[in-house]
Amino acid sequence: MNEQATEQQAQSEMPFAVVQGAPVTELPKDLYIPPDALEIFLEAFEGPLDLLLYMIKRQNLEILDIPISEITRQYVEYIRLMKTLRLELAAEYLVMAAMLAEIKSRMLLPRPVESEDEEDDPRAELIRRLQEYERYKQASEDIDRLQRMERDIFPTHAELTERVVTRKLPDIAVQELLIAFKEVLARAEMYNHHHIQRETLSVRERMSNMLSTLSADNFTDIADLLDPKEGRLGVVVTFLAILELLRETLIVLQQSEPYGPIHVKTAA
């Protein structure tokens, strides 16, 4: 009847759990686990430390003074039962069983009476780990109880229906302006050092000039644009200006026959 109540409760609380139906005839008396709740039971534990803690609390035992042979016997009983039910058991559970068995055997060995300090207690490491795990398990439960968003407290929101869109503009200090000026002058200087002769005719300027003299209606012979009086540099600048104007589709180039004169006019 007790078992039935538990089972019902377990099911009503965790209706998503898979219940194993295999009948188990022999149950250790002190396990208190109905067989078909075993799988749920196993899922409820976060590992061997958690299972051990449960067994200790369940029997009102004290972590610091675990009756190791009794706990080991119960623990191994659980493991055996799980295996019988062919439940998949994480490797950590078996490692713990081995560790318990080892502690148990070391407890049976005679210990020097005078050295009672904890390092000599074969249980010391287990007890440390149990306590360590327990405090963080407790902490996780404490955090779970903190007021939290979505469950206990809710963010508020009031719509702002008409947003004033403000596009921010860069902020600069007057010193930055000066520094930019200084940098550009310094660079211009380097530029001029590298070019033995300063370029007095800019491509861009020539482009503007050319655009203002060319016509959209009449073609001009490209040879007329290249003025030898300007020297080689001037011819190069003009040529670059033509290429650039062409790239920007501001002018149209036409050649009526191969090797014939090239004519140019502004784009319509």
Binding site: T6, Q9, A10, E13, M14, Y32, I33, P34, A37, I40, F41, A44, F45, E46, G47, P48, L49, D50, L53, Y54, K57, R58, N60, L64, D65, A90, E92, D117, E118, R128, R129, Q131, E132, Y133, R135, Y136, K137, Q138, A139, S140, E141, D142, I143, D144, R145, L146, Q147, R148, M149, E150, R151, D152, I153, F154, P155, T156, H157, A158, E159, L160
Partner: protein
Amino acid sequence: MTMDPVKLKNIIEAALLAADGPVSVDRLLALFPAKEQPPTRDDVNAALETLGGDLEGRSIELKKVASGYRIQVRSDFAPWISRLWSERPPRYTRAQMETLALIAYRQPITRGEIEDIRGVSLSSNITRSLLERDWVRVVGQRDVPGKPSLYGTTKAFLDYFNLKTLKELPTLAEIRDIDQINPELPFDLMPPAADTGGSGGTPAKGEEAEDAPETA
């Protein structure tokens, strides 16, 4: 002539209500252009204090959390407010919560250290879910072979759990020595198994799973 304190308070209230998350004092100060005689930080703090007082006895409260101030619905009203939505609040598994607790209290901490303390291997789904929730982040690598990632918590974690700083986390239990056996058991870990499930609007408890064996 600085701004009228009531107007300042109203602007701050509107800003906190319109913003999508907590708002820092710096961000509040940025609402006021320099050329319009902006309030000082002290003015803003004073206005926040007045606003907090105004909301006493109301269903909403001013709360300071890690990334700033926010106006939130008081937890007393959760039973009604949670009915606004049909879905239940997200639940977190014990593995997620224990991992989160270890990262919160022991940060920076590696996956291996978490596994050592919990005594089980840590599925990468768990760290991924905490990272995706933006509750934890990788804060570095431990300088050992393999360079394992070190995890720490974020401001979003503190915000979510209504905290200003990590100092506000519940105190950790003490580790006792093996020789100071205390007959008074301070643990009350297992909550009584009385069925609290489904009672009206009470918020769902994190984990009820382990109650099951207890009641047998």
